[in-house]
């Protein structure tokens, strides 16, 4: 059995999480493979919630599978697809089945996904969602009714340390911290300085919040250009692009893994943050290589 | 008006140009009908549409050269309206190319004749094609 994520966060060590992306369909075989491969190598497995507004197998379903397989799931919840009633009901269910970690997110717009004509909900925003989880934790619903058993969730959220302008972002982070979060997993970051600045900001407000820097390996010059162009809040520095350009053909993935591992080592050795959250979308099976190269297993 | 080409001519530019063409005895198509307007900007989309409803097969809006409009922006407005009219005609499954806007100066009778003939001939050809 894995250690509860909350206990891990309380300890001194470097925290490592990664994610399992649900498939588009009822098949869970791929997810099970990834769970088996990763569950003992990391402290928590995030499960994305209709990521990028693409309809998929539910986050909660995969979280239950992770529990069954002895891993520690982090349930990602966005505000896009469910109103406050549905979110609360889902959280009660998740808790009753042993899920103990929730990552509170806004969610992407339906405009970027594969159901562009869907009604997007956003009944709540991510700050309100954090408050909601705490309310359930106190055995009440957010309408003030008493519950026949509350929840006991460890609460996390996300942040974008590379946003420009950064001030409005930081005000939002401040509100999230005030609402009460145990950990923050950041958007992909590539500059140590940026993470450092962000960590300082958060620690200044609340020392107990653990910060896991987002790691997304860049495996090609094209991918870098695409991300810089199209993924708001991510800035890939030129030196990374240059290093990739110099790598021999066909070694992009290996190079990406190498650079990510190097970054993780630095973050750990220089104690820049408390851990990392590795997102290697579509290449989950290669996450162990990053962990090995970074000396985390 | 059946089969005619209607030319809305600004009295500061196209109309004097047409007048001069007449005085110089330059020849242009008989199917052209000239309507004198105080400014190309005075011609509204509905005027152009009504011309087609009455059976015109093409409409020309002729205004002053860029920067020379007596009412400052009449010619640019006219161009916008002609473009809008092209869309409206296409929407009604008529040919948007049947309406056109040109800028002309009062002392350019040859240009007047060329523009008129070009549109008339183009429409004649397209009629044959149909």
């Amino acid at each position: 059995m894995s250690t509860p994520f909350r206990e891990i966060l309380k300890k001194e060590g470097f925290v490592v999480t990664t994610e399992v992306g649900p498939e588009k369909g009822s098949s869970v075989s791929k997810a099970i493979e990834h769970i088996e491969l990763l569950k003992d190598k990391v402290h928590g497995l995030n499960v994305t919630d209709n990521q990028s507004s693409v309809m998929r197998y539910p986050s909660l379903g995969i979280c239950l599978l992770i529990k069954e397989h002895g891993g520690e799931p982090v349930l990602q919840v966005t505000c896009r697809d469910r109103n406050r009633m549905a979110i609360q009901a889902d959280l009660l269910f998740a808790h009753s089945r042993g899920v103990r970690n929730v990552l509170c997110l806004t969610g992407d717009s339906v405009d970027v996904g594969d159901h562009k004509e869907a009604k997007q909900v956003f009944d709540l925003d991510s700050v309100q969602l954090i408050h909601l989880v705490h309310t359930l934790n106190s055995a009440r619903d957010i309408a003030g009714n008493e519950l026949s058993g509350g929840t006991d969730f460890c609460v996390g959220t996300a942040a974008s340390p590379s946003s420009d302008p950064i001030e409005p972002q930081l005000i939002k982070v401040e509100k999230k911290i005030k609402a009460g979060v145990d950990f923050i997993q950041t958007q992909a970051v590539y500059e140590l300085d940026e993470i450092k600045r962000f960590t300082d900001f958060v620690r200044n407000m609340d020392e107990k919040v653990r910060i896991l820097a987002g790691i997304v390996p860049i495996i090609g010059v094209k991918m870098a250009a695409y991300m810089n162009e199209n993924v708001p809040g991510i800035v890939i520095p030129q030196r990374i692009i240059d290093e990739l350009a110099e790598a021999p053909k066909g070694t992009g993935v290996a190079k990406g893994i190498e650079m990510s591992a190097r970054m993780i080592r630095q973050l750990k050795e220089e104690r820049v943050c408390d851990g990392v959250h590795i997102m290697f979308i579509g290449r989950e099976e290669r996450v162990p290589e990053i962990l090995e190269a970074a000396g985390l297993v | 008006m059946k089969g005619r080409v209607i030319a809305f001519c600004c009295e500061h530019s196209a109309y004097p140009a047409a007048d001069l063409a007449g005085r110089l005895r330059l020849h242009y198509s008989e199917s052209l009908r000239i309507i004198r307007v105080p400014c190309a900007g005075r011609v509204d989309v509905i005027h152009m549409l009504k011309a087609f409803e009455k059976g015109a097969r093409a409409v020309l809006v002729l205004g002053c050269e860029d920067g020379a409009c007596h009412h400052i922006t009449g010619n640019t407005r006219a161009r916008e309206r002609v473009e809008q009219c092209q869309v409206l005609l296409d929407e009604a499954r008529l040919d948007g190319r049947s309406v056109a806007m040109h800028n002309i100066s009062p002392n350019a009778p040859q240009k007047f004749v060329r523009i008129a003939d070009e549109l008339v001939n183009a429409k004649e050809q397209s009629r044959e094609a149909i």
Binding site: Q120, D125, A159, D164, Q169, Q187, P232, G233 | -
Partner: protein
């Protein structure tokens, strides 16, 4: 004011396909100002219909009228004779106008020729932008006069999402300012940034019980 946009010609044509005599009815208020359904647009649409149907050898007779406010029964009553003459009414008013007309002349098909889109203002000539979501629970006092309910693509109430683009543009539309960057700028300028730091509780989405009803206080 209320902003609307004319429906595609095809859709309008299809809706009146079976009628020979149609009253094209505009409204002199909001839709006139946003160039969607005033007297001018009535003339253009009627002409287009005549041209299109004429070319197809299926002539249509159009009557044209523009009521000062199509959402007021008294004003709409004035055109009852014209309505009586037509097989159907094609209304270029907002949904409210179309329904007033439909209620008043309930023996006639009243068909919409515009799509009513939002409450907004002109940003520049010919361009209108959404400003108000008519939520019935205005909190512009807390946001520097910028409504994130409608001007943020996700209607977020406590600050920006993580997607704001470089330079403060919205994640889903690089041509649109992120509403929360606007709120921030405005409040910063006024020295009231603390307002943005205050937690905004979940919105009362039932402040207006649908369908909405407002009773004026007696003067």
């Amino acid at each position: 004011m209320i902003i609307a946009e004319r429906k595609p010609m095809e859709e309008i044509e299809e809706s009146v396909a079976e009628y020979k005599k149609v009253l094209v009815a505009g409204c002199g208020t909001c839709v006139t100002v946003c160039w969607a359904g005033g007297e001018k647009e009535v003339g253009i649409l009627a002409s287009q219909l005549r041209l299109a149907r004429g070319a197809a050898g299926n002539e249509i007779v159009t009557l044209e009228t523009t009521v000062e406010r199509q959402c007021e029964k008294e004003m709409v009553t004035e055109i009852k004779d014209k309505v009586a003459e037509a097989d159907a009414v094609l209304s270029l008013a907002c949904g409210s106008g179309v329904q007033t007309m439909a209620e008043l002349f309930d023996d006639k098909p009243v068909l919409p020729a515009v799509n009513t889109t939002f409450i907004g203002m002109p940003e520049r000539e010919g361009l209108w932008v959404e400003m108000c979501g008519a939520c019935g629970d205005c909190f512009l006092d807390r946001t520097g006069g910028v409504c994130p309910m409608v001007r943020c693509a996700k209607g977020l109430l406590n600050g920006p999402c993580g997607g704001t683009r470089k330079g403060g543009m919205c994640e889903i539309d690089p041509d649109k300012d992120c509403a929360w960057v606007l709120v921030h700028r405005r409040l910063e300028k006024q020295g009231r940034l603390d307002l943005m730091r205050e937690y905004v509780t979940p919105k009362n989405f039932r402040a207006v019980r649908r369908p909405g009803k407002v009773q004026a206080a007696k003067a």
